[in-house]
Symmetry: C2
Subunit: 264 residues, 2 copies
DNA sequence: ACTATTCATTACCCATGGGTAATATACGGG
DNA sequence: CCCGTATATTACCCATGGGTAATGAATAGT
């Protein structure tokens, strides 16, 4: 599994340190994966830190090596989900296309996020369980997501791909329906997350689209095929911020910007 | 306020008893009104029974004269909301009309419910906070609501008022959007509950309706005007079950069927 | 080998809050 | 006038669970 055995004594003295740091981050993420799953299946208040620890084969105080407290764990779970959404928005905004095209693209991706744990955490967790500071961050982020939907709709109205409507209410209607997926979707059902996402993307946007899509429900192509401007796909401006851990003595310092690894 | 002063000694010995019972029910409902408001604004777990009592100018143990415990209060709040929904469904099913008409009727009413406290309790409260028995009741009721949406859609597909689609997914999409209203709507905003309901009814059904409604958003007529079969309005089969209190010695017996007074 | 750091454990603290017991007050009926 | 019922209060119990202190076992670096 690990490629760094401590056999060769000198040569690359950084690796042990790096591998330690990596191991630590992996454990941190394991805590979050376990926590988000447990918070979702039992609810934040019913799930105890003992439960989380037990599922990881450790004890409660060990968790405090990685997090300041329960609410910080909650926040970090939410934060991962938020990063995933931010990526969706960034990619959608970066790629071109009509307002309708962007709206559908975001809808598909967002819907699929709602079928996975970290996505669900965005809509199932209660903002009031967070600290004052984190709560403000979350509120701001929520507004940003709402803005994305509204902007795409407004853009679609402007460029003619979307029927004239109130972007605010339309965004509420679409996002609400998507958010609700996070409440009812259970993996293992008859529908895969992807299938639900595709279906919802069509259903939710056909009402306001100028170009009426055929909804025969037996279609097997992607939800985006009919959008009026497929963008050139390829390099989508992968900005890699390469945030570095400044881990010093302070145990479990507030490191809300975790290394951008392939989570989930 | 009360018309029953104890001056005249005999004549109508029932009244004092009746008035006591009425007073009791009013207090019970006052508790529920306060509780639902508090549970919504603070969340069930953060809101304590002391908070509820304090807001009523009483103390915590006094609540136990009316309810067995916190979870029962939660259940009763939910139950009132559920009764309101049941009335909507009953009236909608009783009145005639096409599938689309019924779907829109239910959508409008349900949306408006979501803008009020007892309606919100249907979607904001966590089923896992209830006792085993009550949880089963709630789950059954939720399925019944879902069934209503699906039935109307399927009926619409059958009678040609709704485009062919998967009733299950369409119902999820519509109900999800409506349920989400209970999460974001705050009275006192720029939009009234009724306005939101009307707008959503149009927006959510126009995607699957065969008869495309004009969505100019400057329209001021009701959401139902274009439906293809306005039913004869009038006596809508008011079944009054006339449930009676069997209040005996047992303090706060399980009286999940409260007197059907004008709540809210 | 020696030492410092990391990370986990056991044992504990204690605020919170749902729920109960004992008790006081008001009131209707005989 | 007294009693039973209903309803409220004060004072308390105690299980729960987040969080901490003291401590022990690995491991890296010199």
């Amino acid at each position: 599994m690990d490629a760094h055995s401590p056999s060769s004594s000198n040569e690359s003295p950084w690796l042990p340190f790096e591998s330690r740091r990596r191991a630590r981050d992996e454990k941190r993420e394991a805590v979050l994966r376990t926590a988000v799953a447990l918070f979702l299946e039992q609810g934040y208040h019913r799930a105890t830190l003992n439960d989380v620890a037990k599922r990881l084969n450790i004890t409660k105080p060990a968790l405090y090596n990685y997090f300041r407290g329960k609410d910080e764990i909650l926040y970090e779970c939410w934060s991962i989900g938020n990063e995933l959404v931010d990526e969706c928005i960034a990619e959608t905004s970066a790629g071109g296309g009509s307002g309708l095209y962007k709206l559908r693209k975001l809808t598909v991706r967002y819907a699929e996020l709602m079928t996975a744990d970290y996505g669900k955490s965005l809509v199932r967790f209660d903002i009031r369980d967070l600290s004052e500071d984190n709560r403000k961050i979350v509120q701001t982020a929520k507004r940003r997501i709402d803005r994305a939907f509204r902007d795409y709709i407004a853009q679609g109205v402007a460029d003619g791909s979307v029927k004239p409507c109130d972007p605010k209410l339309a965004a509420f209607a679409i996002a609400g329906s998507l958010n609700w997926i996070g409440h009812w979707f259970q993996p293992g059902g008859e529908l895969s997350g992807r299938a639900v996402a595709e279906e919802f993307a069509i259903r939710l946007t056909e009402g306001i689209a100028k170009t009426t899509t055929q909804t025969t429900s037996t279609r097997k192509t992607t939800a985006l095929e009919k959008a009026d401007k497929p963008p050139r796909k390829g390099n989508a401006s992968r900005e890699e911020t390469s945030e570095h851990h400044t881990r010093t003595a302070a145990r479990a310092a507030g490191q809300s910007k975790r290394a951008r690894s392939r989570l989930r």
